[in-house]
Symmetry: C2
DNA sequence: TGTACATCAGTGAACGCGCGTTCACTGATGTAC
DNA sequence: TGTACATCAGTGAACGCGCGTTCACTGATGTAC
């Protein structure tokens, strides 16, 4: 990396912005989102606190940047994992997606907390910029499910969901351009809930220090059980 | 409530301790755990900040108190709901437990966040005092499952879990004094993950403002799907 | 290629705010005789 | 029933720390002619 004297202004700006994001991620890990502080980042940057405002308009804006970056990185990881899996094996593809989610979270618990943990008090994510990146993973799951030829080797009898729920499921089909039947769509949201729950329980330390020696095996077995509801 | 002049010292102390906890819960709701502040509580109490130290030794200790109280309240709510359900209908009892968890979380999102959300940065719960209350709910689920005569109308073929996972499941059986077979025990942890995940997704606002008009119906249908893995 | 001007990065001081915790203290409540 | 002493609740000041954000400023980098 050339030092400041040999870099052009534009290069320097890009480098600074990247460094601020990197430090932001690091502070997330060590102190949590609520304690993310522009002053601390300035300190690590070796720069006076007001200088950071040349690059980032406010603390909340930095949080938004990190949030979007997190959703994007996670979705990229999931996409890559799914694309490595056998195109003809929908169940394996879904499992690959679930495992990619867990791995990403285990590798960076603080960012997982930012995405799927408790909301940051006093901060509201701007929906117009976060919803897109934030729904990429679930959209991918739904697409993989649509590609699955048979919907469930253990097909539930269609229970006739209550009207409001059926209506909500319609709304989802519209939002994601999906045509999955109610039962499968419901099972997809169940898979989603199980993945989020299993991951958060592990990553947020709810499994006591040494309850599970093999959390990845536990996760895989759990998701496998849920998948048996959906896909052959 | 008699005012300070007619209360004895012991009565006053009990009233103050209760009020501090009540205000602590209120601050959790409005500002989140990371921002829980003894000074703010003192202000609401109408008392100088140092006075709070007559009742609570430190901020972290108050957090611990609230954590234990939260686990206890949640477990009490679950116990009450289960006991209202038909003793002969294990599936209905498990569903009652799940719905009690969700209701409790929806009624008090901040306490749910304290229990099952992102860890509070810089705070580590003292295991010796929190593990007991913190495992009451899952212990209850396991007991209800043990009472179930049949283990699964959709019994999974016993997959022969990998050795480490089987070992972990053994450890759980020991910890909770349970004798459920591997497959059922695994399904119980899956149920647990799904309940935590579905509840957190709803309570932490991951379902966009108006994605689901009937979140309770969604939850019920999801849990019902998972229960079909376990109990007839 | 050189000069004049505009843009930009970073400084340092300041505003006003919040926090946890300690300490010596006053005055009221409770207890032992 | 009354007095002497111990306990306790609450005060107010202080220590040392952190934060976000604004502002006028200097000096270096880039651009137009």
């Amino acid at each position: 990396m050339p030092d400041a004297h040999t870099r052009t202004r534009a290069e320097n700006r890009r480098a600074m912005e990247a460094e601020i994001r990197r430090l932001g991620r690091a502070h997330l890990s060590t102190h949590g989102a609520a304690a993310l502080s522009l002053r601390a980042i300035a300190r690590d940057l070796g720069v006076v606190s007001s200088a950071v405002y040349r690059y980032v308009p406010s603390r909340d804006e930095l949080l938004t940047l990190l949030l979007i970056e997190g959703y994007t990185d996670l979705a990229d990881a999931v996409d890559a994992a799914v694309e490595r899996a056998d195109p003809g094996a929908p169940r394996a593809r879904l499992m690959a997606a679930a495992m990619a989610i867990r791995s990403w979270a285990v590798d960076d618990p603080a960012r997982w907390a930012l995405l799927y943990g408790s909301p940051v008090p006093g901060y509201a994510a701007p929906a117009d910029r976060t919803v897109g990146p934030g729904t990429r993973v679930i959209a991918r799951l739904l697409r993989e499910l649509s590609a699955a030829p048979s919907s469930g080797s253990n097909p539930q009898p269609d229970k006739g969901f209550p009207a409001e729920l059926a209506h909500d499921l319609d709304a989802i089909r519209t939002e994601f351009g999906s045509d999955l039947p109610d039962t499968t769509l419901l099972a997809a949201t169940t898979l989603w809930a199980a993945v989020i729950g299993a991951t958060s329980l592990e990553v947020f330390g709810q499994y006591g220090a040494d309850t599970f020696a093999a959390p990845e095996q536990l996760f895989t077995a759990q998701i496998d059980a849920v998948l048996s509801l959906i896909v052959g």
